[in-house]
C-alpha cells in the first residue's frame, strides 16, 4: 500500500521536474525563434556592411560592429593584464588576512553593482573630470571597472585549484617564485583565465546601460585604417546601443531585430569558442 503511494508521489515529482526543464528550454527556444523570425529578413549584405545614410537611403550597422569590436579590444587590452595581475597578487603574494578578504569582498560587491551606476560614474569622472567626453575610450574605461572583478575572480578561482604539489615541486627544483608562476601556475590556470576573459567579452557585448552615456551613439565608420585610432577618442555606439535607439527613438523594429540576430550569433560564437579554448588549454587533461 505505502509502496504504491510512494511510487505515485515519485512519479509526480519526476513529472514536475521534467516540466520545469521543459518550460525553461521551450521559453529559450521560443525567444530565439521569435527573434530570428522577426530579424532574419533584415540581415542583408547591405545591412552588415554599410552605415545608415539618409542620402543613400541605406540602413546598416557596419559602424556599430566596428565600435563594438573597438570597445572590446580597448577594454580587454587593459582589463586582462590588470585582472590577472590582481588575482596573482591576491592568491600568491598577499598574506591571507583582513586586507585580502576586504579586497575580495570589494571585488564581489563591485560585480553586483547595477551597470547604470558605473555608467553614471564613467560619464562624470572619465567624461567630465578627465575631459574625455562621449568616446569609445570613456566607454572602455567604464567597462574596465565592470569586467575587472570577472577576470580577477575567475583567475583567482583557477589559481586556487592548482595543487600545492606543483608549487613545491618547482620551488624545490630551485625555481624562483615568478618563474614558477610563469611556467607552472599560469599555464595550469589558463582554462579559468580564458573563461573569465570570455565572460568579460560577453558582458561587454551585452552591455548597454553603462555605455549609453559614456560611449555615445555615433555610427559612422572610421575614414581610414589609421582613423581607427582617432575613433577611440570619438563617440561610438555599440550594437546594443543601436538596438536600443532603433527600437525607441527611431522606431525601426526591423533593424532592431536584425541587430538582435547579430548579437545572438555573436553570443553563440563566444560560447563555442570558450568551450574550444578551455579544452585546448587544459594542460591537466591526459593526452595519451
Amino acid at each position: 500500500m505505502t509502496k504504491k503511494k510512494c511510487r505515485v508521489s515519485e512519479l509526480f515529482l519526476y513529472g514536475a521536474i521534467y516540466l520545469c526543464a521543459a518550460v525553461s528550454i521551450v521559453l529559450l527556444a521560443y525567444i530565439i525563434i521569435y527573434v530570428l523570425q522577426k530579424g532574419l529578413k533584415s540581415i542583408t549584405p547591405t545591412f552588415l556592411t554599410t552605415v545608415s545614410s539618409a542620402r543613400k537611403g541605406t540602413v546598416g550597422i557596419a559602424g556599430n560592429i566596428v565600435n563594438t569590436i573597438l570597445i572590446i579590444l580597448v577594454t580587454m587590452l587593459f582589463a586582462t593584464p590588470i585582472g590577472i595581475g590582481a588575482a596573482i597578487y591576491l592568491n600568491e603574494y598577499a598574506k591571507p588576512g583582513k586586507l585580502v578578504s576586504a579586497i575580495e569582498f570589494a571585488t564581489e560587491t563591485l560585480s553586483g553593482i547595477p551597470s547604470i551606476i558605473f555608467g553614471l560614474f564613467g560619464m562624470m569622472f572619465f567624461g567630465e573630470t578627465l575631459g574625455l567626453g562621449y568616446s569609445i575610450l570613456t566607454g572602455s574605461l567604464t567597462l574596465i571597472l565592470m569586467v575587472l572583478p570577472l577576470i580577477t575572480r575567475n583567475t583567482q578561482e583557477a589559481l586556487k585549484t592548482v595543487p600545492d604539489g606543483y608549487r613545491n615541486g618547482a620551488i624545490g627544483l630551485g625555481a624562483g617564485k615568478w618563474y614558477m608562476i610563469r611556467t607552472i601556475l599560469i599555464p595550469s590556470a589558463m582554462p579559468g583565465i580564458i573563461t573569465g576573459v570570455i565572460l568579460a567579452i560577453g558582458r561587454i557585448v551585452g552591455e548597454s546601460a553603462a555605455l549609453l552615456f559614456t560611449a555615445g551613439s555615433a555610427k559612422l565608420l572610421p575614414k581610414s585604417f589609421l582613423g581607427i585610432f582617432d575613433k577611440i577618442f570619438q563617440s561610438g555606439g555599440t550594437l546594443t546601443i543601436q538596438l536600443y535607439l532603433s527600437a525607441t527613438s527611431e522606431g525601426d523594429f526591423d533593424s532592431a531585430f536584425g541587430i538582435a540576430v547579430v548579437l545572438l550569433v555573436i553570443v553563440f560564437a563566444i560560447n563555442l569558442i570558450t568551450k574550444k579554448l578551455t579544452r585546448r588549454f587544459d594542460v591537466t587533461r591526459n593526452s595519451n
Binding site: 620551488i171 624545490g172 630551485g174 595550469s188 594542460v283 591526459n286
Partner: protein, 266 residues
Amino acid sequence: MLQEIVTEMERRIMANNVKIKVENLDLYYGDNHALKNVSMDIYENKITAFIGPSGCGKSTFLKTLNRMNDLVENVTITGKVSLDSEDIYAQKVDVTQLREHVGMVFQQPNPFPMSIYDNIAYGPRVHGIRDKHKLDQIVEESLRGAAIFDEVKDRLKKSALGLSGGQQQRICIARALAVRPSVLLMDEPTSALDPISTSKIEDLMEELKKQYTIVVVTHNMQQALRVSDYTAFFLVGECVEYGDTKTLFSYPQDKRTEDYITGRFG
C-alpha cells in the same frame, strides 16, 4: 681505469664522510616548538632514514635541509645546518643554488602538467641551460638514472600525467636528478604507491646512493630497515635516537625507541 673508479666508489661508500652537519637546530611555527635542539651528522653516499609517528617533526626536519620551510609563514629557525661545511642559512646563500645541490622528492608524485621531457628539463632550464642538445642529454641521463627511461623513451613528448603513480614518482626522481644534486631528500616517497612500485623505488634508492647522499622520511619501519644505513627516530620534535640502522633496530638505547619499533605506539 675502471678498477680505479670502482675502488674510488667503494672508498666513498665505505668511508663515513659527513655531508650534512646539523647543530642545535630549533624550529618554531609561531609559538609551537616543532624541532627541539636537533644535532646530527648525515653521511655521504649513505641512506639516512627518519622514522617516527605522525607530527613528530621528521618531515619538518627534512625540509630544513633545503630550506623549504622558508616558504612557511612565521617560521623561526635557530642553530646551524652545514652542507659540505658551508652554513646553508648564512645570509649570502642563494636558495636557488642550494636547491641545485639538494634535490627533493615529495610524498605525492607531483609531475607538472606538461610533457615528460619538459618535466625533466624544468630544473636545468631554471638553472639557465637552454641548449637543446645538452637538455636532450640530461633528460636521457636523468631518466636512466631513475630507471624509467625504457618505459617512457617512446613517449617523451606525451603528458607526464598519463603515467601510473609509480612511474610518476620515478619521473619526479628523474626530475630531481636532472639538476645534478649531491643530496636527495625524499619525503615518504612510496607512501602513495603500491607494493610493486614501492620495491622498484627502493631498489632505485640502493642504486642511487652510489652517487648521491639520500635522506628519506618514512613511516614504514620495515622500509627504513630494508633500505637505510642510518636511522633517526623522532618524537614530538626531538631526535630521540640516531645511529646505525641495524644497531638501532636490534639494540635500541632509549626506551621510547624500543616501544616505537616494537609497535607499542605510533
